[in-house]
Amino acid sequence: MTLAALLIVLPLVGALACLAAGGRASKAVGLVASLATLGVAIAFAAGFPNWTDGGVWPNESGWKVFSAFGVDFLLGADSVGVLLILLTALLMPCCMLVSFSAITHRPAGFYAQFLFMEAAVMLAFLARDVILFYIGYEFTLVPLFLIVAIWGGQERRVAAIKLWVFSFVGSVISLLGFVYLGAAHAAQTGGPITFGIDELTKFGQSLPADVQWWVFLSIMGGFAVKVPFVPVHSWLPLAHGEAPTAGSVVLAGIVIKIGQYGALRFAFPMAPEGGLALASTFAALALVGIIAMSLVCWVQNDVKRLVAYSSVAHMGLALLAMFAFNVVGIEGGILYMVNHGLSTAGMFMCIGIMYERYHTKDMEVVGGLMQRMPVWSVFMVLFAMASLALPGLNGFVSEFLCLMGVYTADAGMRTGFPGVLGPWYALLAGTALVLGALYILRMLQKFVFGPLREPAHEGHGHHHEVRDLNGREILSMLPLAAGCIVIGLWPKPLLVAIEPVAAQVAAPYVKLIERDAAKRAADAEAEAAPGPSATTASAAATATGAIE
């Protein structure tokens, strides 16, 4: 069995082993299985040959069991896929570790759900076939639903149902686009139906602009729920508010990233005409998300909801940067996926660890924890600073590139990036720098600094002294903290790895925008010198710029 397949099978086996082991033993089984998967992921990354050329590896096929439906069990990843696989594999053991003391109710099922989830996520990131991706994508929902519904907080059922309905409706909308592409492709070629990513991408780009508009709207619209975009974001704060700590970590760190990955892998390349036409609409939604959600963060007292809303704002910036259609912006947006995964997951872990001690997430009730838990405070401040993009930490690199990409996405500039955004978008998005500081620092001021405030029945020896982090908890957050610092100081390997993929995503858009510009120029020329030759010039420009 190859490493790619092993990445999917190993967690599945681990999940079953967890269920078989049951009880307390399932902790060890789960941790070992997730660590083994991490080992496989590292081996996969070490053997990956396409770090600098954007190629896909290993592209192995062999299992034709789905072929009857036109689904090819084709596995492979490009460099961005490998990065996301590594992020997933890294977060899973952390999730396990941080849950050891928090989850006392049916632990075997809990750890098994996480491993099921890991298998599904790996499938989504490895799939080279649309339907295969879709299976993985949908399958993440099941464990997530159960994690929230069974191990969640007070309103877990409402949260779980809302999570399910939103995600399901969203993915069905995406599926409509996929199925249309597959069916139309089969109808055109007359051959057997196929859902291979490469075939559908090529086919999608050849479609007329108005069809592409619908295809993009459908695929991106579905993923927009997952990312999530305003106004279809409201499931996320609720789900985060109710999910157990580890559930929030995977939700913020991995699951919503699949939405962005989907945009990057499917929506953008398969319908560039549609993407271009809808760019300003989605960009406007992203801007609303950045500004409005940052402000909403500012007035939250439930610290978990605060971080959840900040996710909406941050992902808005990541997606906005992708709509810049230039290498810098897309590069920043992709890097943002990884960085947001690290820092937000870290903040959720800190909050979860605090919750275990105080059983509240209300900043009005609990605060000034630096005096009680100094080591915890160091982690919290570090992740918060990464989140507000302090230079030297990871968030800065991606946020800076995102804003710069948006800024330079203006054909009038010397940078040579055509695009439909530009300085005004960057200025509005740049308010995130200020607003982010506003809510993050308010959170730190109340929660970490300031006079010590504890719920009446906790701390001060009434029941027990609240302790600082233990070794296990430190261990669970250390990889994330290290990631924040290392990527902040040495992002070059990631930048080099992401660049070819970003260039691939940008390429069709650059052609389209240049074609439009040429057409406009020709039209202007025709207007200046009316005559029979004008229409031919315009048509010629259209023809030369068209995408094969």
């Binding site: 269920l19 439906f69 759900q113 299976i135 949908e138 929902l141 099941v142 159960l146 069974i150 059922r157 779980a160 149902i161 309905v165 069905v172 599926l175 249309y180 069916a183 139309a184 139906i193 106004p231 409201s234 402000l295 909403v296 500012w298 007035v299 590069e331 005096q371 100094p374 080591v375 160091v378 600073m385 302090l390 230079p391 030297g392 800065f396 690199v397 800076f400 804003l403 710069m404 800024y407 330079t408 500039m413 010397r414 940078t415 300085p423 960057a426 740049g430 308010t431 200020v434 620092l441 001021q445 600094f449 300031g450 006079p451 010590l452 040495w490 992002p491 070059k492 930048l495 660049e499």
Partner: protein, 766 residues
């Protein structure tokens, strides 16, 4: 509307006297904005100087060690030892660099470039604008070297001072304190030594973070944490300007490395930049960043609140070094304020804006300082005012004057803060000078008060002091300028100097002279690890700043009973003496100018990116129809003496007179606004609160409510009811009684079945 249409209007305002004559315009542009072709030599790359990285690594090693001590809760004085040692190493290296490489720099003017390591770098092609490079690399020219020298030397001395000052925290936050101080110096050196704007940005935000950590050092105090947050957020507004400026710079020049940038500007013809708003906006956005970091213009209000931090921090960060980063940025980016870079009209407008922001801030800061009773806050506002002077120096066209004043100010303002700290240290945190007096007669405080006298003389720019010599260069340049607006700045600056002399001596007379009078601050009751500064802000509380309870039970009731002032110890005295000597010696560049034939600081500025602004004004000029040098000396001395005499009259000759005058002004309706406004900082904080804080907060509340109850509560739930069957299918989940794994299988099967159905429905249609 085309913004360039405004230019003629601005220019007409700039010099009404010559507005009619078209030639006059050209002349002024030539004298002020257009410095001709830019003479930038390509930096010499010399990896042999890679030992300079130890200047950064030494403080960073101290960061790691202090951090380990803080995390492992090891108590002891080791963090101070690490910090002082590492700073001393950095200082020694800076001096070594100056001795080894300085002569070459002065001779050739060629900056030094030392590549260190890759940071943010990638490319998507081979052409221009197809790569982005911001690496860890050093770029050292005159101003870098100057900043390296005074930052490291002052940091060493102040850290030594802090090792005694923070003594009572050895069992508490000692390691945390020195962790932040070490990180600050490392960040500050990154800021000035980086060879590109992204590295500068890293240092820029890094010093901001350290400032945040140190202002909020007494984290149990709500006021301290609020002040820390305010400082960070106001700085972030400036940082947004810096970020946008960097985008514009990359957009226009395809690089963010100083070397490439300066080359690109000097090789661009000035006619090529006419009407390019993307270039014209750069200097204004940079100015926004300067306003944040150097507490200028609309963003000055964070600096007074920053006094919540321990006093050595105020001396090092909020007086001598960090807040001068804005002036460094202006000097570093001086080429962007020239006709060559953005066109003569825009360059003139940009320079005038810089000048007016600085001039207005200097004036407003001085007027507020006159009304403060907390002597530390007086020094804080005086810092704002002095920084305004420096910014004005850059604006009126003499980077030499501005940078020289940075250098002299760093010494005497650090001295003032450190003496203030010694007084607070000794008087249990008393910061209200109305509750102290006659300290000159208190044993153990004579050295402190003598040092403070020296600091006040310098702050007041007494004739022949280093401060006066540097500040007069700015005033000379301004008053002899051909541009009328610039001359107005000069006159306002002159008036500000008089006000400064008044408030400087107002503090010293009240503290040092008169009968001995000591009401100890609340720290004598503060029997815990709060430190010295946290209780010292009763005056803030009274002014409506964040109140805190412990201050309430101190004053008056226990006045003086059994209180023994705690005289400064050896380290504090030593550092005070050394910095006092340093303050005096900071004038050496001028004192030795005749015998050397050059001004030492001027050389530094000449051999830097600000070299185009290294002049000290025209050799022969007239002010009020007389020789400019003589006239300025008389005028500057005159206003200082007047300010001094008023202070003497109101606060020394008759100590009650100042208070009675204030009381009677408060009784007079027409004059009430003067003391009230000054004491409350012209209510700027309150105005911002009403204009921005409250609406934003209310808006955010509305958004949050809408989000929660309208978007989610009404719309989503209504939509959610449509697939009611969906909820019913999963009804069993509501009970939570189903076994987890059985449920997961059910869900999975439902999913696959659902997908197959979808596939048949959709696939069948084709």
């Amino acid at each position: 509307m085309d913004p360039s249409a405004l230019v003629p209007v601005v220019l007409a305002m700039a010099d009404g006297a010559h507005a009619a004559a078209g030639d006059g315009h050209a002349q002024h542009a030539a004298a002020y904005a257009d410095v001709g072709a830019l003479p930038y030599a390509k930096a010499g790359v010399d990896a042999g100087y890679s030992w300079l990285k130890w200047m950064l690594l030494a403080p960073l090693a101290s960061v790691v060690l202090c951090g380990a001590f803080a995390l492992l809760k090891v108590k002891g004085r080791w963090p101070a030892v690490f910090t002082v040692t590492s700073f001393a190493i950095a200082a020694a290296l800076a001096v070594h660099l100056y001795r080894e490489w300085g002569p070459g720099l002065f001779e050739t003017g060629m900056p030094l470039a030392v590549p260190l390591a890759d940071w943010i770098t990638f490319s998507w092609g081979d052409g221009p604008f197809q790569s982005f490079t911001a690496n860890f690399g050093l770029y050292v020219d005159g101003i870098t070297l100057l900043w390296m020298l005074f930052v490291t030397v002052l940091a060493t001395l102040i850290a030594l001072y802090a090792s005694e000052y923070m003594e009572s925290d050895v069992k508490a936050g000692y390691a945390r304190f020195f962790f932040a101080v070490s990180l600050f110096v490392a960040s500050m050196l990154v800021l000035v030594m980086s060879d590109n704007l992204i590295g500068l940005y890293m240092g820029w935000e890094g010093v901001g973070l350290c400032s945040y950590m140190l202002i909020g050092y007494y984290a149990k105090q709500v006021g301290a944490t609020a002040a820390a947050k305010k400082a960070f957020i106001m700085n972030r507004i400036g940082d947004l300007g810096l970020a946008l400026a960097v985008f514009l710079i990359w957009t226009n020049y395809g690089t963010v490395q100083y070397d490439g940038l300066f080359q690109a500007i000097s090789s661009t013809g000035s006619e090529a930049v006419q009407g390019s708003w993307t270039k014209a906006a750069i200097p204004f956005l940079l100015l926004l960043a300067v306003c944040g970091k150097s507490a200028q213009g609309p963003l000055f209000t964070w600096l007074p609140d920053a006094m919540w931090g321990p006093t050595p921090v105020s001396a090092l960060i909020h007086a001598a070094t960090m807040v001068t980063a804005g002036i460094y940025l202006l000097a570093r980016m001086a080429p962007f304020y020239t006709a060559q870079a953005i066109g003569a009209e825009w360059a003139e407008t940009a320079l005038l804006t810089v000048g007016w922001i600085g001039c207005a801030t200097a004036f407003i800061g001085a007027t507020i300082a006159c009304g403060q009773f907390d002597y530390k806050r007086v020094f804080a506002y005086s810092t704002i005012s002095s920084l305004g002077y420096m910014v004005m120096g850059l604006g009126v066209g003499t980077a030499f004057g501005g940078v020289y004043y940075v250098f002299t100010h760093a010494w005497f303002k650090a001295l003032l803060f450190l003496t203030a700290g010694a007084v607070m240290h000794g008087m249990a945190g008393q910061v209200d000078f109305r509750k102290l007096g006659g300290l000159m007669k208190v044993p153990g405080f004579r050295l402190t008060m003598a040092c403070m006298l020296l600091g006040c003389l310098y702050l007041a720019t007494a004739p022949f002091s280093a401060a006066a010599l540097s500040k007069d260069i700015i005033l000379y340049q301004a008053l002899t300028s051909p541009v009328e607006q610039v001359r107005w700045m000069g006159w306002l600056g002159l008036a500000t100097a008089g006000i400064t002399a008044y408030y400087a001596f107002r503090v010293w007379f009240r503290l040092a002279l008169g009968p001995v009078h000591i009401e100890p601050g609340p720290d004598q009751h503060g029997h815990d690890d709060h430190g010295h500064d946290d209780h010292g802000h009763a005056a803030h509380a009274a002014h409506g700043h964040a109140a805190h309870a412990p201050a309430a039970h101190g004053h008056g009731t226990h006045a003086g009973h059994g209180f023994h002032p705690h005289a400064p110890g050896l380290r504090i005295s030593l550092v005070l003496s050394l910095i006092a000597v340093g303050s005096v010696l900071a004038g050496l560049p001028s004192y030795l100018e005749k015998s050397n034939g050059f001004n030492w600081i001027q050389r530094f500025v000449e051999r830097s990116s600000a070299g185009i602004r290294a002049t000290a004004g025209p050799e022969h000029a007239e002010i009020l129809g007389r020789d400019a040098h003589g006239a300025l000396f008389v005028l500057a001395t005159g206003v200082v003496v007047v300010g001094f005499l008023i202070a003497w009259l109101l606060h020394a000759a008759n100590r009650g007179l100042g208070d009675r005058l204030r009381a009677s002004m408060l009784q007079t309706p027409g004059l009430k606004w003067l003391p009230l406004g000054s004491e409350h900082g012209w209510y700027v904080d309150g105005i911002y609160h009403v204009l921005f804080g409250v609406p934003a907060w209310l808006g955010a509340q509305v958004l949050a409510t809408v989000d929660r109850f309208v978007v989610d509560g009404v719309v989503v739930n209504a939509v959610g009811r449509i697939p009611g069957w969906f909820a019913r299918v999963f009804q069993p989940l509501y009970t939570g009684t189903v076994q987890g794994h059985a449920l997961s299988m059910a869900g999975g099967i439902a999913l696959i079945v659902g997908w197959v159905i979808w596939w048949w429905l959709s696939g069948g249609a084709s």
